[in-house]
Amino acid sequence: MKVAKTGNEAFAEAMRQINPDVVAAYPITPATEIVQLFSQFVADGLVKTEFVAVESEHSAMSACIGASAAGARAMTGTSSQGLALMWEMLYIAGGLRLPIVMAVVNRTLSSPINIHCDHSDTFGARDSGWIQIYSENVQETYDNLIQAVRIAEHPDVKLPVMVTTDGFILSHCLETLDILSDEEVQGFIGESPERPNLIKSLQENKPITIGALDLQDYYFEHKRQSAEGMFNAIKVIPEISKEFAERFGREYSFFEEYKLEDADAAVVVMGSTAGTAKEVVDKLREEGRKVGLLKLRVYRPFPAEMLGKALSGVRSIGVMDRADGMSAVSGPLYPEICGALYDVNGKKPVIQDYIYGLGGRDVPMEDIRFVFEELLRTAETGKKEYTLKYIGVRE
């Protein structure tokens, strides 16, 4: 069914249809609407959910951890500073292997305080043991959240998932999307698979201890198991995407290749900027220039091998990082793309990093065109001109 919804509304709608057992959330711009809309659903009796209006994001994640450990399907939503306040608990949710699903609206981190989009909040949480799925538009925002439930709860994965959408650019942007019926969503996500939990252990009179002290003799093994869950997700995510495509016709993978096949130059981009960049690719293609695009959807688990294959034919690659590394080699994405491409089929493409759009700075087509021009030039010469460039900034 075609409807017009903002990113936040799409998140809230998906949450209503998922109908989780527990939602514990605290409002924060630009994700406030998710919490507002969902609490309205609760008030109107449209969901069976126990809604916990916690006093902070730290408690939101803590309550989700408690609920999930007790056997509930638990969800929350947040953004930026709220995610930062959850930091401690993100690692605990990941380490306890709790399939919590979180809707995150990407917003930059203070200071300076700013409520607009970049990816510094979720990029920072990349090693917390959470699966991360980024969305290009409102449709993806919706579809990703529904798939996230299945991915998180898959017995081989059992890890929390955050689905992100770009603050304001998508969260507050009205787009037409195709939503599923409640039955279709319920049919797809199904009942939560059995896993050990507090209430089950109480019912069966076989008490379990969750969150024990893990010393030198066990901690490493448990961390290794968490990583194994991540590696397993590389197999599980495509299975679930495939099932989603079969049922509803929209296909997703770890990334989307756009006119990449014969491209000499390509950008790797995440989130809403991919939409703008596709336009630029189309224009340049019309001019007869061989450019393409790779939109990374799943950042964790990082699909290194697949990326290496997909990009191996491209002579010059521009990585678009919407977060700064503060004197690291580059932004956070670039080194991983380099790692994925290192020594693939003996080819050594030129790879350059472009940090863009911090704090919601607009990303016009000219900026992306500028990147392609540079890439096409280096594709010709085969020489890297620099590692890192900031674009769209006065300096």
Partner: protein
């Protein structure tokens, strides 16, 4: 309410095999609370002793479903469990009635966890939150510290506002006198002992010390302030090695006459008007081996024949005082009222265990200080090569001697204690009874030819050429337990010299260097001893203000009190809170078998009154037959040892008054 026999028959839910200390209150409280709940129960635990010691993977002491996630969020985590339970119950996925219990220590409840606690209470989740409150504290210097002042060495507790104390001039590295502009009592806090080779000091982990920062060869070194928590072994602190040349002490002693003192004959002696090396050596021998009976007018020395000290003393006596003396094989006696009174007036203390070194001695010229140490060595000292060792039964004497040696250019070791049986030989004599003796070892600093290789020595020891100060590497930092603490504020340099080490004054603790150090007029940390200058946070009242159905205080020592309160709490449909005073045998510290007794005395002294608040109505649940003085509680715990000393009498009275006041307030709330 079940009887003890019925309780004993219930299935244990908190099992043995956990690794809490013997006599730990937390384990007892957990077990009692679990026994009191005769229903299916799920437990959430904040990070802390109870959690760490009871669930070391792959073991668990909990025979109930149990979850721990972090330190500050037990209430929030359990609120999530409660939400899940409610949701699943609505959906018919669970049929049992479940009781939810959260356990948090006082840190996870009063401090870092207060927000989460408040949130969960306000939302009214149905759970019982049990605070096992073992009173942790933060922040300053132990009241054991000695401070170098213009008037000599003083205990930190003796320092008054306006007094001149020595400080380190951070520009010129000189010793300067500065005015102390404030003294702050910071209550009882955990203190750490920092040890260097020759110095040691006890302070809280956020007390700043001056550290030498080496910036590499060819670059200028600098000094930085670091809190104790940031200091690592190997860091170099600044210590005092000498003070100004000093002046001889002047005595104004009026001799007695036969009119004043009804004896036939006064053994007339000359009384010196000022100190001298000879007199100080004589007094050194006195401190080691002498006694005074002023009522009899007798001064005596236990210096047997064939000891070096005996001859030295007789010579010195004749030279300084003149007059007659009497000897036998072991002792020397001088019957002189004047001499006895004169020595008495010098404040050396009486009796082997209470001898001390008076503060005036610290400002004497170097030569006189060295003569005094010489005299001490002749009495109860050993010498092996360059190394000296002094033995005494008086801990105060030893620690003050240590401070004296430190500023007289000696290297000084730590004080060691040993027990010796009757008849063992100690300092050339046999002990007359079993005794506990301490000793301190020291040696003269070697002479370094600093003129020749000054650059090299300076690199090794930055302050080598400095007359007053030196740097010493930190050897160890160890937690030694809770002690009363004080701090000073000093004008100008904002530092002072405590136990020979340069430390920052109190000002910095309010800066960003110490995030938890809002330590002055408010006392934001989780403590329950009423009556300190900083009052404890009354979390029970804060919980009452949340309008929750049930709030109570309890102790493990009255099992029926705790058990009945838990039973009552879980009968309410909402958030309930019990604050249980939980003795910590290592932290407080006391012997493990006293846990229950100590908690009962806390209730008997009304330091920890037992009451409950049902739907906002206060009710006293235990009224001591006889309200004991607070001293009764303090004296059971070593962390309060200092409170029992006469100089702290006033503090003790302040505490008593505050306890009394709060008790009256509580009685009024309870309708008396």
């Amino acid at each position: 309410m079940p009887t003890l026999k019925q309780l004993a028959k219930r299935e244990e839910k908190f099992l043995s095999g956990h690794r809490l200390c013997a006599g730990c209150g937390a384990g007892i409280v957990a077990r009692m609370v679990m026994l009191a709940i005769d229903k299916p129960v799920i437990v959430g635990n904040a990070t802390g002793c109870l959690e760490v010691a009871s669930t070391i993977f792959p073991y668990s002491a909990w025979k109930v479903p149990w979850i721990h996630s972090a330190f500050e969020n037990a209430a929030a985590t359990v609120s999530g469990v409660e939400a899940a339970y409610k949701s699943l119950k609505k959906q018919g996925k669970i049929d049992k009635d479940v009781v939810l219990v959260a356990f948090g220590g006082d840190g996870g409840t009063y401090d870092i966890g207060l927000q989460s606690l408040s949130g969960a209470a306000e939302r009214g989740h149905r759970m019982l939150y049990v605070c096992y409150n073992n009173q942790a504290y933060m922040n300053c210097l132990s009241t054991d510290s000695y401070i170098m002042t213009k008037g000599g060495l003083k205990k930190i507790t003796e320092i008054k506002q306006g007094e001149q104390v020595y400080a380190f001039d951070q520009k010129n590295y000189q010793l300067v006198l500065k005015k102390c502009t404030g003294v702050f009592d910071n209550g009882i806090k955990p203190v750490y002992e920092l040890k260097t080779l020759h110095h040691s000091i006890k302070a809280t982990d956020n007390h700043p010390f001056l550290i030498l920062q080496r910036n590499g060869r060819g670059r200028k070194n600098s000094f930085v302030w670091r809190t104790l928590a940031e200091i690592k072994p190997g860091d170099e602190v600044i210590v005092l090695k000498n003070i100004n040349p000093g002046r001889s002490a002047e005595f104004s002693f009026t001799k007695v006459t036969t009119k004043d003192y009804k004896v036939n004959r006064l053994n007339d002696v000359d009384i010196p008007v000022s100190s001298s090396p000879d007199l100080m050596r004589y007094l050194g021998l006195y401190v080691g081996n002498g006694w005074v009976r002023s009522e009899k007018g007798e001064v005596g020395f236990a210096l047997p024949e064939n000891t070096e000290g005996r001859e030295v003393l007789i010579d010195l006596h004749n030279k300084i005082f003149g007059g007659n003396l009497r000897t036998d094989k072991v002792y020397i006696y001088i019957n002189s009222v004047d001499l006895a009174r004169f020595i008495d007036s010098l404040d050396f203390g009486k009796g082997a265990k209470n001898k001390t070194i008076p503060r005036w001695l610290f400002t004497l010229p170097l030569e006189e200080r060295e003569s005094f140490i010489d005299g001490l060595m002749l009495s109860d000292g050993y010498k092996t090569g360059n190394s000296c060792r002094y033995v005494s039964a008086s801990s105060e004497l030893l620690s003050r001697l240590r401070a004296l040696l430190q500023i007289t250019n000696y290297r000084v070791g730590n004080i060691h204690w040993q027990s010796k049986e009757k008849a063992t030989k100690c300092a050339d004599r046999e002990l007359l009874q079993d005794a506990k003796y301490g000793y301190v070892s020291f040696s003269k600093r070697g002479k370094w030819n600093t003129e020749k290789y000054l650059g090299q020595y300076r690199y090794k020891n930055f302050l080598i050429g400095n007359k007053y100060f030196d740097v010493e590497k930190v050897k160890s930092i160890k937690l030694v337990g809770d002690e009363p603490t004080l701090d000073l504020r000093v004008e100008g340099e904002h530092n002072f010299i405590a136990d020979g080490i340069v430390v920052h004054n109190t000002g910095i603790q309010r800066s960003s260097a110490t995030p938890k150090a809002a330590h002055t007029t408010t006392s934001p940390l989780g403590k329950v001893i009423p009556g300190k200058v900083q009052f404890p946070k009354d979390v029970a009242s804060i919980m009452v203000a949340h309008n929750i159905p049930y709030v109570a205080t309890s102790i493990p020592g009255r099992w029926n009190d705790l058990v009945s309160k838990v039973e009552k709490a879980i009968s309410f449909d909402g958030f309930t809170f019990i604050d249980v005073l939980t003795p910590c045998r290592l932290g407080w510290p006391y012997e493990p078998e006293l846990t229950m007794e100590i908690s009962r005395v806390a209730a008997d002294t009304c330091i920890w009154p037992l009451y409950e608040v049902i739907e906002g109505k206060y009710k006293l649940t235990y009224r001591p037959k006889e309200k004991k003085p607070v001293l009764e509680w303090f004296k059971m715990q070593r962390r309060f040892a200092h409170l029992l000393r006469p100089e702290n009498q006033e503090l003790l009275e302040t505490i008593q008054r505050e306890v009394d006041r709060k008790w009256e307030v509580l009685l009024t709330k309870c309708g008396r």
